[in-house]
Amino acid sequence: MIVLRTVWQPTEDRATRMTKPVLSVRDLTTSFRPDIYSPWTPVVRNIGFDVAAGETLAIVGESGSGKSVTSLSVMRLLPPRGSRIEGEIRLAGRDLLALPEQEMRKVRGGDIAMIFQEPMTSLNPMMTVGEQIAEAIRGHLSIGSAEARQETIRLFEKVRLPNAKERYDVYPHKLSGGQRQRVMIAMALATRPKLLIADEPTTALDVTIQGQILDLVKELQEETGMAVLFITHDMGVVAEVADRTLVMLRGDVVEDGPTAEIFGNGRHPYTRALLAAVPRLGSMAGRALPSTFGLIDTATGSRGAEREAAPPVADKPAVLEVKNLTTRFAVRSGLFSKVTGAVHAVENVSFSLQPGETLSLVGESGCGKSTTGRTILRLTKPFSGTVLVNGQEVGATDREALKSARRAVQMVFQDPFASLNPRIPIGASIAEPFLEQKLGGKAEARDKTAALMHRVGLLPTMMSRLPHEFSGGQRQRICIARALMLDPKVIIADEAVSALDVSIKAQVCNLLMELQESLGLAYLFISHDMAVVERVSHRVAVMYLGEIVEIGPRSAVFEAPQHSYTKKLMAAVPVPDPSRRRMRRNTEVEEIKSPFRIPGFVPPKSVYKEVSKDHFVQVRC
């Protein structure tokens, strides 16, 4: 790949441009070195940008392109030993890089506030959320503790945290992810900063909650007129919030401009490639079959073709049949570890999978998607129900049946890195199932491994490398190769592409679809990413609190959702289209329901109503 190096030139004529920039960055170069004996390695090179009051600038780019480093450089939060920041960072005219640490501390949290990616880990678990905000307030404004408390509660109300008063004395672990992120926002706004830096503030959240957070930031910005630096890799989010967009590639800014312009006619091939890879919800409207992504070559800028996938094989028996599957996790407590209840993770779930078919399982976090997949493979014991693989029941007692089922059904996990043993060369990891199931000798295993690596686009010469020597996308390919080693009929892909960058995500999706066609694989595709699901699925099942509430052909479910939950899910997905950005979603602030049930709880009876051909919706009776 040719490395592109576009030195950024400030564009003078800009409609959205306000009078004076709040933050002005010039020639910022940030370098790291592991120890004093090593040379400095720049990871951000000569970048520059301005953000004006009331304006939102989005920085996009794939993982590792230097987005976070840029924001941390502005805050001077990088480790003092081992990092070096050069250039000029001016906040309302003041050069931040020249400030003594003491002064800089006042800037942090005072003039510039920051929201981080991980709401779960960014709050101190041992301080009440109220204290944490009051601490920020009192650090910058000289007010008493009672006043700080008042102010904190006011902020909680502002970010629409229910029961603001009581929430003051609550520890973070009692709050849901969305609530925690709202606490983070409240904290950031506590001192009325001039600039808010939001580093991937919604990545870890469910789509429904993501929507709420984005709305909130927008609203507050309108109210206070602060400048916002919004860092994300989600183009949908960019389209939603940003006035202007800056595209980074491996430490360089390759393009910047008004968001609409970037989306409408990005000039740089990388920008276009990035956008092309973004799955857009609704882009498949009217099409019955899944389709690959048409990718853009970042070097040449030429666009690959989209290719429609084949329909599933209808005349053969189902490869996987799940009947009334129920999985519950007992919750024990008390003197004799009495069962005081159970998490009904999967409740009465039934579906079947044809050869060559992709069935997607969607739903919000904790609804039981993974548990379903794990129960099929008996990584978790079911409470009741049956799983048939090639018509044969997978039972607890029959080890051989389980073994052959596990040969036919394989799994690709969400985190490709965690699912590869970091200490074993990838060739050995891929070959392991083959050798362990005694399907052939060492030489055969080697040949097959090489062939599969080739197949998933890796060089067989990489066989002896360790997992950490690969990129995320490559690692996911390794996992796919391993899953294919046993010639399975079904692959359960549990969030198999969720962790990947957009462009790589598209590549891996394409690979999966290709393999499906040539090998006749069936996929159980578990994902919370609706846009990807829309592209790859033949059929879609929507799960809610352990139950399938709607299942049917993809086009039917996406274009004519019947169940109220499905509708809500569809509405919450951000649309990568700047022209639609001012549209409010009107989603209410609502807590996720818990699947915990007391013992003796009998799930309400329900039936499935067929609304159109093969499209079923759950109806309670």
């Binding site: 120890d35 394989q410 799994m411 996992c479």
Partner: protein, 287 residues
Amino acid sequence: MTNAAQLAPPVRAGIPRFLRRHPTMIAGGTVLAAIALAALLAPFFAGDPATMMPSERLQSPSARYWLGTDHLGRDVFARVVHGARVSLAVGIVVAVSSIAIGVVIGMIAGYFRKADPVIMRVMDALMAIPAILLAIALVAVMRASVGVVMLAIVIPEIPRVVRLVRSVVLSVREAPYVEAAQVGGTRLPVILVRHILPSTVPPLIVQATYICASAIIVESTLSFLGAGVPPETPTWGSMIAQSRMYLPRAPWTVFAPGFALALVVLSVNMLGDGLRDLLDPRMSRRM
């Protein structure tokens, strides 16, 4: 986006650089290696550690006796060097065997839910008996010998290793790569040995250095309390313990082994601390 990078054990990359970054570890390692070498070659250069010549007792260091003689007229230098063999052996044998036994029991406890409570209760009971007292009692039971002293130090260490291994196993057994292996049909023993065992290695290496250092100290303490190795055997601990009365008159009889002991324990600890920093991926992300 992903926190995968944290899990990476960057052991393979750039060993020399780590060495440069961990001067204390290098110092510790070098000193240890030198002492180990001296211990190995002791019979060839150090002289006779056993022969007693009461008429030559408590001689101060001289050209003939580099570190003087003790109360029985034995060559302190020869005894210090030969003592290295026993003291190091005690450290190493105790570390290796307590870890070997602890790993096996810990893996069983961590992986087999049924065995876990039984094993852990027994381990609790073993831990509940103060180590020194157990050692004294064991030595009293089985008569003093280097082997028994080692055993007496190993037994109380085992439960600590078991706990460590068990906790690692408990956390790793649900790791996606273990589940991936299960899905691929990998047999249980293979999963245990190939996928779970290696994760216990980094914390165990560190633990091993602590055990090694404390074993050397405990051995000397046992000698002090009169429950150590046989008086015949030169170990630093028993040398200090036997000579402590002579400290005012013949300080070398105590300081020579004492210095050697402190030096080795210090080196082992420095090595262990260095290894821990080296094996801890978080060190690269510090404030």
